[in-house]
């Protein structure tokens, strides 16, 4: 039985799809992508709201907001967020944004949506596993969400969940049931990521259409490929770490615990465990995770920049090589998160070297993006603006990475607001920009309608200015030694100078959050009422997804899958503005 026949069967049956099979238990990669996107957006709103709440505390440490108590109850006694609630908020904000939004929401959405469409496949290699991947993600989401409603609150020891705070149930209120649920949610998340990742890899390697050689793949696909490989090889180490943590919490083992002294309890009976071991296991995932978040954004930015500059991407092979270099180095730099743990200074110096090496492929990529823009016929669509914004943030945040990657400087900067500023700019906000760019760019393919451009421009400029206004001042606070994760700075003489600055940051963060609501309105309004797409190729792009009908059904192409004859970047070639990948190469023409 050929695949072709199966899929024609699918199309015939499409009209009989019930609501459940079409929207809930769908095995169509496009629908699964939308499920990931919407779930990710729900988490982004929740995670963003949490940041607004703890910024409220940091900006107005002495004020009382009675309305807070009416929403949060005992977590905001007397209208002020309690320290426990504050720590729960920052922890959940971190976990949710890193894993649920920027991992599942970003690569879950765009790997699912773009891989089959851009490589020329009817669907993922295993649509069923793909569906399972989403359902495991949703299960993880439900468990994580439920941890916020247990009596002792969600886990509150930081998103890295370092022991002993995470290993000892009595360490803090959040270390009780909240932590158990956190571990379960993360374990489910690892399964989801594994199922998704295997599928992405197999689809990219095996399901490409005729003529689509590896070096004709759009850079989005290459980026998503390396993302999937990183995820498949790094998440299992987190899983091992979490399994050992479960045993420490519930079965009296001492993997991470030793005979430390606990106030009011005395020395623990544990013996010989190492809390640093957990940090190694965690950061072996944690650092590749940064690139799991960043690479999909890089891929989409490359694609969107080339299309909207009407120029081929500059240095395709260099882009590919630097993606590979970043992915390989991602596994070799984890201990730069641990310079102050008592790491052997010699070992530290090796991690410094390897960390600073990442600057090379990163610089190549930045150079190539800028040269792609150079003398291009630029179309400033909202997607393009977000792509340019991504590059700006990546440069700004990347430069501070050189400071932090240096062990000697890191001793001063470690665990300060400098770190917060660095990683929010380079990976948090930048990847968010990549995600926005992707949504603005592929929205017409997802829903057959356009997002509103004017709202898009407002969204971009406020978010762009806001991102810098929020995080730029944090560099100064960090250089002055202001530590992260503190509930209240007002009692320290040395940090009183920052009270006004903190209030400013908090105000801007609320404005930026409000603008994201504007984006949500734009998104949901446009799904139903947006301007309709009237042509199959609205951006005049070369990649295969624009050869499908405006609203492609399950199976993507009604007839044969198009054959590919050239790479994805024939823009402005031979006097032609663009030549799609499925156009045969003329006799007098050469192509990649």
């Amino acid at each position: 039985m050929s695949h072709e026949a199966t899929l024609h069967g699918h199309e015939l049956h499409e009209h009989h799809d019930t609501f459940l099979t079409k929207y809930v238990f769908s095995q169509d990669h496009k629908m699964i992508a939308k499920q990931f996107l919407i779930t990710g957006m729900v988490w982004a709103v929740l995670g963003g709201l949490m940041s607004v709440l703890f910024r409220l505390q940091l900006g107005y440490p002495d004020a009382s907001f009675p309305w807070l108590e009416s929403i949060l109850g005992k977590w905001a006694k007397g209208g002020q967020i309690t320290p426990e609630a504050y720590y729960a908020l920052v922890t959940t904000h971190g976990t949710v944004l890193v894993f649920f939004v920027l991992t599942a929401g970003l690569s879950g959405t765009f790997a699912n949506f773009l891989i089959p469409l851009q490589v020329g496949a009817r669907d993922m290699a295993s649509p069923f596993m793909n569906m399972l991947s989403y359902w495991f993600f949703l299960a993880a989401s439900v468990v994580m969400l439920s941890s916020m409603f247990v009596e002792t609150g969600p886990f509150s020891g930081g998103w890295t969940a370092y022991p002993p705070l995470s290993a000892l149930g009595d360490a803090s209120p959040g270390s009780k049931t909240g932590m158990d649920l956190w571990i379960i949610a993360m374990a489910l998340f690892v399964v989801s990521s594994l199922l998704g990742g295997l599928n992405y890899i197999a689809t990219i390697l095996n399901m490409r259409t005729k003529g689509m050689s590896m070096t004709r793949l759009p850079l989005t696909i290459w980026a998503l490929f390396f993302t999937a490989v990183l995820g498949v090889l790094s998440f299992p180490v987190l899983l091992s770490g979490l399994i050992l943590l479960i045993f420490d919490r519930n079965f009296g083992t001492s993997f991470y615990l030793s005979d430390i002294f606990v106030n009011g309890v005395g020395a623990l009976s544990n013996e010989g465990g190492s809390a640093i071991l957990y940090q190694h296991l965690f950061w072996f995932l944690g650092h590749p995770e940064v690139y799991i978040i960043l690479l999909p954004a890089m891929g989409m930015v490359s694609e969107i920049m080339s299309i909207n500059s009407r120029k081929p991407i500059f240095g395709y092979m260099a882009m590919l090589g630097s993606l590979f270099a970043i992915a390989a180095l991602a596994f070799l730099v984890w201990a730069h998160h641990m310079f102050v743990t008592g790491l052997n200074p010699f070992l530290g110096s090796i991690f410094v070297l390897l960390t600073l090496l990442i600057a090379v492929p990163s610089a190549i990529k930045v150079f190539n993006w800028l040269t792609t823009l150079w003398r291009g016929n630029i179309r400033f669509t909202p997607a393009m603006l977000f792509a340019i914004g991504f590059v700006s943030l990546f440069i700004s945040g990347g430069l501070t990475g050189i400071w932090l990657g240096n062990a000697a400087l890191d001793i001063h900067l470690h665990d300060t607001y400098f770190v917060i500023a660095h990683f929010h700019i380079v990976m948090g906000v930048a990847s968010m920009f990549g995600m926005f760019a992707g949504v603005y760019h592929w929205f017409p393919k997802m829903y057959g309608r356009y997002l509103n451009n004017s709202l898009g421009y407002i969204h971009f400029w406020v978010t762009m200015a806001g991102a810098y206004l929020i995080f730029w001042p944090m560099h100064y606070e960090g250089l002055a030694g202001m530590p992260r994760r503190y509930f209240d700075f007002s009692i320290w003489e040395s940090f009183k100078q920052f009270a006004e600055l903190n209030r400013f940051i908090s105000t801007v963060s609320m404005i930026v959050f409000a603008v994201q609501i504007l984006f949500l309105i734009n998104f949901f309004y446009s799904i139903f009422k947006g301007r309709k797409v009237t042509t199959t190729n609205p951006w005049e792009a070369n990649t295969l997804e624009w050869t499908t009908p405006i609203n492609p059904g399950h199976g993507n192409w009604p007839g044969e899958i198009p054959e590919v004859h050239r790479w994805a970047y024939d823009y402005g070639k031979d006097g032609k503005d663009f030549i799609p990948q499925d156009v045969p190469v003329g006799a007098d023409e050469s192509s990649h």
Partner: protein, 227 residues
């Protein structure tokens, strides 16, 4: 169920389908899954190494693993039982190879016979492990409790039993899932599923998993019984 068009004569360019490794997607997935799982076990064993080398002393495996089922109490048969366990598991890998080979020859009978032997081997290994765990538990060993002395006669930390039960347990769980997979494969073979498809690729993929689980045991065995 090859879901691809055959490569055209235009061999220079990618013809769609099974390249670059000329394997179907399920096998690609299995290999990547095994790499992923190798990292899971790798993380466990590296954790074991880290803790072991920062711990003063470690029990002598020859003194811990010296019992044998049905033998009189106090018998001194160091590592004999675990050697038999290991032998059983390795033999089950051999029968798995024979099953895969029979599958390639489209020899249904051979597949069935060798899959049955593989399943028996897996169950035998699990039974041995169950006996060993039970025996150690009776001697007072469990997560958080270590009745054994260090090789130099000093009191031993619980790290030995903690890691032993966690890692061999995790491996045993893998063997268990392997047996379940193999039983499913056997049933599918008996139902002529693979004859209908015209190939026994599923047996090959199950085989990859089974060999991987055996390979992991070699490392687990080395870490806990030999070193």
């Amino acid at each position: 169920m090859s879901n691809v068009t055959t490569a055209s004569s235009e061999a220079k360019w990618w013809g769609g389908g099974k390249s670059p490794f000329d394997v179907e997607y399920g096998k690609v997935m299995m290999w990547y899954f095994l790499m992923s799982d190798a990292f899971t076990f790798g993380a466990f064993l590296i954790s074991y190494g880290t803790v072991r080398f920062s711990t003063n002393g470690w029990p002598d495996p020859n003194k811990v693993f010296k019992s044998f089922p049905f033998a009189p109490e106090g018998v001194n048969a160091p590592l004999v039982f675990v050697s038999i366990m290991t032998f059983i598991l390795i033999v089950s890998s051999v029968t798995m190879v024979l099953a895969v080979h029979a599958g390639k020859m489209m020899d249904k009978k051979g597949v069935v016979r060798n899959m049955i032997w593989t399943i028996i081997g897996g169950i035998a290994f699990l039974s041995c492990q169950a006996w060993e765990w039970n025996h150690l538990h009776h001697e007072g060993a469990w997560w958080g409790v270590n009745p054994f002395m260090n090789a130099d006669g000093t009191a031993s930390s619980t790290n030995f039993t903690n890691f032993f039960f966690t890692i061999t347990g995790f491996h045993g769980f893998h063997v268990f899932s392997g047996v379940v997979i193999n039983i499913i494969m056997l049933i599918m073979t008996l139902m002529n599923k693979f004859e209908e498809r015209g190939h026994y690729l599923m047996i090959e993929k199950a085989g990859l998993y089974w060999h991987f689980v055996d390979l992991v045991w070699v490392f687990v065995f080395t870490c806990f019984y030999l070193l």
